[in-house]
Symmetry: C2
Subunit: 229 residues, 2 copies
């Protein structure tokens, strides 16, 4: 039997690192795909990706530059004139939403999957306990899988797996520890690349996950906010 | 009533030029989007796009660089080590198929549409009388529309229009002439940027369309193949 190959979208954050570790546990050889999309913490996330895939072991890696996200903008992550909110996670789609980002990522990852005859594509989307991005919802991902299989060769069959979609952040933390995901290498902060700010939505969700799991986040936060959160 | 905006994917070829002209006829203001994806005739197609949108009149234009297509390759259009076939259009998916190219294009165009509150997205796919690419089939495009609307904000509603999908190439030629599409500026050849080769699948389909429509293609072909085809 030929080997099972999965394309894993790996941002360098906690969620995608766990998602890729689950792919490995599921018996897949991993192709790691990372996107540089002119987000504020592009450099740090790329560094995290490289460390994560080194620990994980991959058969191939793609670092894909998507500079055009800057041309589109319309998000606090890709347009420096829009401030990253730090007041706490609110209802609705936040200004950090990057228009159809996961649609673009999944489309490119599918092209890579088709090239390498991969049969699975792992993405670390989280629906609950998340920022409320529409492109992280499971009904969207399922629909996208359907579109991808219609828009590629008949012999290409890609299953999009989203093992974290219904997990709470605390479960993500515990599962990551269980699977020895190198959380110390992962990066979630939207704002900073040296010390995590601790107050953007992404830091808040991460810190809350560690707190609920009774764990200490190994990464460095500004003013040691981690300890007092 | 606010103005109707459509994002039109315009490659610089005959089909997308007509598709965008139909969008205009349908009463939309046009945002023209062009992709440079490291295809062999990138420079010529960009030049054609610029001429076409100048004639068409657009409210905004995006020229998007997608250099990563070269990293993926796997197509005669994006990998120079694979020859462009010149023996005639055959059944099956040809080696000029670029993995999930239209999926990637539609995803990016959707992000642009969401930013600008556009309600339509025009793409010049042709299902019959075509090269047999899976990402040009109407069932794929419809499914992709569904995915896009699930993966974007609730208030974003994008209809993907494919006015040419069931047209023969000869109808595309006649309709283009009827709508004064500047066919002399369009480019279809897969291989060359100075004079069209006349023998790649794309040239063959185009020339056949002109022949069946009893028209003469205004662009220049190598060895004046146009005249004798």
């Amino acid at each position: 039997m030929s080997e099972k190959i999965a394309v894993c979208v790996i941002s360098g954050g906690m969620d995608s690192a766990l998602s890729a570790s689950i792919a490995k546990l599921d018996g897949y050889k991993i192709i790691g795909v990372h996107f540089n999309y002119k987000q504020r913490t592009e450099k740090k996330e790329l560094e995290s990706f490289r460390k994560v895939i080194k620990e994980l072991g991959v058969i191939k890696e793609y670092e894909i530059d998507l500079n055009f996200f800057e041309q589109i903008g319309a998000s606090a992550l890709t347009d420096n004139s829009i401030e990253v909110p730090v007041g706490g996670v609110e209802d609705g789609v936040p200004i950090t939403y990057v228009p159809f980002r996961n649609g673009i990522f999944l489309s490119i990852a599918s092209a890579i999957a088709e090239k390498h005859n991969a049969t699975a594509l792992y993405i670390g989307v989280v629906e609950e306990d998340s920022s409320g991005y529409p492109d992280c919802r499971s009904n969207y991902i399922s629909s996208m899988q359907n579109a991808i299989n219609l828009g590629t060769k008949d012999e290409t069959n890609i299953e999009i797996k989203m093992p974290l979609v219904n997990m709470r952040k605390s479960e993500i933390v515990s599962s990551s520890i269980l699977l020895s995901v190198p959380l110390e290498y992962t990066w979630s902060c939207y704002k900073s690349e040296d010390e995590a700010c601790g107050i953007c939505d992404s830091c808040r969700l991460r810190l809350n996950g560690f707190k609920m799991a009774n764990q200490i986040d190994p990464i460095k936060y500004k003013d040691d906010i981690n300890v007092t959160c």
